[in-house]
Amino acid sequence: MNWPASSSNVGGTSATTSPRLRRRRSTSQAERRRRLATWVQQNGVLFALLLMGAFFVSRSDRFLTRGNINIVLLQVAVTGIIAVPAGLLILAGYVDLSVGSVMVLSSVAFGQVFKSSGSVTVAIVVAVLVGVAWGLTSGFFVSFLSFSPIVVTLGGLAAARGIAQVWSQSITVSGFGDAFGKLGTGRWFDTPIPIYVAATVLLMGFYAWNQSTAGRHLAAIGSDEVAARAMGIRTKLLPFLLYGLSGLAAAIGGLIVTSQLDGASVSIGQGEELTVLTAVLLGGVSFKGGRGSLLGVLSGLLFLGSLRNGLILLKVGTFWQQVAVGAALFFAAALDVLYQRLERVALEKASDSDDVDHVTEALGAN
């Protein structure tokens, strides 16, 4: 191992021409595998969605009509709004299981405040504040006090619905007027308003996920929290705030459903946390954190909506729909494993070839 202290020969160009070429070729092969793996991970559900869509189109004339598309989109709109912060939370290695109950708590808060104040505006503000406060409280325990996210938000799932039932005494308040009814049932250009709300939230989500520092910092936290902290990332503040956004999204979802029903019913949001989780995980976001895309979440969402809708159009019973959703989740889990295996294969290839040639180069320069 000689060490020439003053070597001006940086690359050792002539001696290493052929190993360089060899390396290029094998790296590009490894690179192709890696890209394929990434593509499978990010677009697997999209591909499944298109296949399934084609199948339903061939079996039903109604599937691809404007009216039916609106129905599918409307059905997934509320789930979509909540899935954006939920997906980011899972990307960061956290989870919020309380969203369904925060929906009903916000809805009941809206109903009760409306009943006593008579003002829709005041009631909306209170409902939103309740959602955000609940989210931030969960976030405080999970982020700053390092409580288990699953346990804390599972507690929230039970507690928030319980509080909603006690507060409303399980009586549904209704009669909020036409203006508030527009939020859930109104249309612009023949498209229901909740779809616009969901589209706006998704666009903001795309920006946060892909374009902002917040998105990559959350991915870093989910991938390796210790290393992220060492790089000065705010590993506690970011998830804390994200829990607040999760509560906000749940409150908005709760208000939309309240508007659709024209009633603050205690049955709102039941099981919503599992639907959201299903869409996010179908979309290829790794439950271990660090990996995933919002395009995947959107695909998972549409897959879930189309699957239910298509099976209804084909007059398949609801229990078969549940079996189909289960099978799809299993498929997503299999894709996740396949992806990680591909990535590892790519790693072995890359390190083999690169090392040999770096050695050649290091020796050649001496």
Binding site: M1, N2, W3, A5, S7, S8, V10, G11, R20, R23, T27, A30, E31, R34, Y207, A208, Q211, S212, T213, A214, R216, H217, A219, A220, G222, S223, D224, A227, A228, A230, M231, G232, I233, G290, R291, E343, A346, L347, A350, S351, D354, D355, V356, D357, H358, V359, E361, A362, L363, A365
Partner: protein
Amino acid sequence: MPTEDLMLPPLLRIENVKKRFGSTRALNGVSFDLGHGEVLGLIGDNGAGKSTLVNVIAGVHRPDEGGIYVDGVEQQLGSPREAQQAGIETVFQYLSLIPTLTITDNIFLNRELYGPGTILHAMRRVDRKEMRRRVEGAYQRLGLDLPPPDTKVIALSGGQRQAVAIARAVIWERQVVVLDEPTAALGVRQTLVVLSFIRRLKEHGVSVIVITHNMEHVLAMSDRIIVLRLGRKVGDLITSETSGRDLVERMTGAAQIQLEAGNPDE
């Protein structure tokens, strides 16, 4: 600049640094200088104070006594960030790289570049193209044969990960790079890779402090070697004028060594 070396203060000066943890004296008055473009080996047995010294230079620990000077100016290194701003980048033994992010994202993590179209302060739009371009520039300048900048770190070998961490230091134009056991977890081949990167850093005028316990590596790569033992400096040697045997004797205290001139009292 190299011709005026005698006129300039040393790039980094550690002066009489002391640090104790409870009743343990981890560092008991260590002083040394680091010149421009110099590769300094720092060796010592377990418990000699190597890690404490690294943490002091990296801004992780504040020394109880003594000073750190960069280009003759005293620095208060209260956090890793302040050390970086003073021009010192530390690559720890357990690398602070995020496996599922790309090389570019890792190099710019928490120091992202922003393009036009700023909305909110916390939601600034990152300039992917410019960051990628700079990483490619660093590859070229350093002659690094790494996979493309948008490759995820999870797909890199141990030696390549070291190289990414080193490239991070170069992109940020640090004057001093501290490498904590850069070859500890690596095989023979990857060690050679890292050794060649250290040489390239030197060629680019970057000063390097390498902490290691591998005698062969420190003799191969350094210009000068500092030996620590029980929190004190027991050797400050020109590499070409020393031997592995001499170093081992100083590390283990087998021979009683007179401290070098210019050292603090006690």
